[in-house]
């Protein structure tokens, strides 16, 4: 092991390599410790910091979408309120509970890794995968519902249907009745038809990108669960579990904001 390049390659080699004796420094250290770090703590700290820098870019990525949402919601508030009301609140509520639950199982997975419980780590990660998949399944039901009601932006988009139905086909009138709760709808059916598409465009973009993040998260969770099953982690080295946890919790936080902004724009009246 006099060749430093060969030594570096061995450092990334498969588990089971006798690192303590093959180590070129002449002393034993944790097999997961990379050469450019002095201690496991330093390595872990650098990893956490790096992950947060990545999450910073993710915050700005979703931040742009939230900004777009804010501007259009301010401009076309009535359309946003009406369109938001057409979404079934219970599915969103159930999904919020499911996702918060998955954050709990994820946090317990990290804790199990920290405390050297291999079997528990794998099980909590699998529970997180299950809840994440359940969330996506419910999302599929919701999306199917949108297609059925022609609430998908595009040439077949139809809004106003519920409104007209309630008024008994009175959509031809220039001023749509506003009997309910003293709220006066100033938008005509045509304008509502046009502007509610903005809401649903944002709905599909934001929930779609959120769902994409979850699919990526589930794939990573499978890999990390497999690594945990193989015994790659211990109480000193569990970085992949911890990083996956940070990513998963971030995705949870995005949903924490999406839920009230998309489902609860105006529910009173």
């Amino acid at each position: 092991m006099s060749n430093p390049i060969a030594h570096a390659a061995a450092g990334h080699g498969p588990a089971g390599h006798d690192f303590a004796t093959a180590d070129g420094h002449g002393h034993g250290h944790h097999p997961a410790l990379q050469h450019h770090f002095s201690t496991m703590d330093q390595q872990r700290e650098a990893g956490v910091l790096g992950m947060w820098v990545f999450l910073l870019t993710e915050v700005l990525f979703f931040g742009g979408l939230f900004l777009t949402y804010t501007i259009y919601r301010t401009w076309y508030y009535e359309a946003f309120a009406a369109a938001s009301k057409s979404i079934t609140i219970s599915w969103g509520l159930i999904n919020t509970a499911v996702l918060i639950g998955s954050s709990l199982t994820m946090a317990l997975g990290v804790r199990a890794a920290q405390t050297n419980q291999r079997k528990a780590t794998v099980n909590w990660l699998l529970a997180t995968i299950f809840l994440g998949t359940l969330f996506l399944g419910i999302k599929v039901i919701e999306y199917a519902d949108k297609f059925e009601h022609h609430h998908v932006p595009g040439p077949h988009f139809v809004f106003a249907s519920e409104h007209e139905g309630a008024e008994g086909g009175a959509a031809e009138h220039a001023a749509p009745a506003a009997a309910e709760g003293g709220h006066v709808m100033t938008m005509g059916p045509d304008e509502l038809q046009r502007t509610t598409q903005l809401f649903f465009s944002l709905y599909f973009t934001m929930t779609g990108l959120h769902a994409l993040h979850m699919i990526v998260g589930i794939v990573i969770l499978f890999i990390v669960a497999w690594m945990a099953h193989k015994g790659r982690f211990d109480s000193e080295y569990f970085a992949p579990v911890e990083m996956t946890g940070l990513y998963w919790h971030f995705v949870d936080i995005v949903w924490i904001f999406l839920f009230p902004l998309l489902y609860l724009v105006e529910r009173h009246n």
Binding site: M40, D41, R44, E45, V48, L49, W52, V53, L55, L56, V59, L60, G63, G64, F66, L67, T70, I71, T74, I89, L93, T96, A97, I100, G101, S103, L104, M106, A107, L108, R111, Q114, T115, S235, E236, G245, L246, H249, F250, D252, I253, I256, F257, F259, P260, L261, L264, E266, R267, H268, N269
Partner: protein, 102 residues
């Protein structure tokens, strides 16, 4: 040797319970007419929930100052993004076009 902070099980369970209660609260409040305060309350609850997740589930409460700074920095950047853009949109109507550009 290792300085890894392991939170007790009870911490995770109580944070989970708090998040569920706040979720129920945000739905309940949405059905009460608070006028222009409805979105303020909804976002306030969301911010509290996000803070609980960041501090306890993501262990930022026990992280180094550098990590904490990075977390706050991300919020600062997104605040600039949203605040400055909204300032632009909110004040566009103020602009009077100089005669030479008409």
């Amino acid at each position: 040797m290792s300085s890894v902070h392991v939170s007790p099980l009870s911490t995770y369970l109580s944070i989970f319970a708090a998040l569920m209660v706040l979720t129920a609260l945000t739905v309940g409040v949405a059905f009460i007419n608070l006028g222009s305060f409805n979105p303020v309350v909804a976002l306030g609850i969301a911010v509290v929930k996000a803070s609980l997740v960041i501090l306890f589930f993501m262990h930022v409460k026990y992280s180094s100052r550098l990590t904490k700074l990075t977390v706050v920095l991300s919020l600062f950047f997104v605040a600039i993004l949203i605040f400055e853009t909204l300032m632009d949109y909110a004040t566009r109507g103020w602009q009077t076009i100089p005669p030479m550009l008409k």
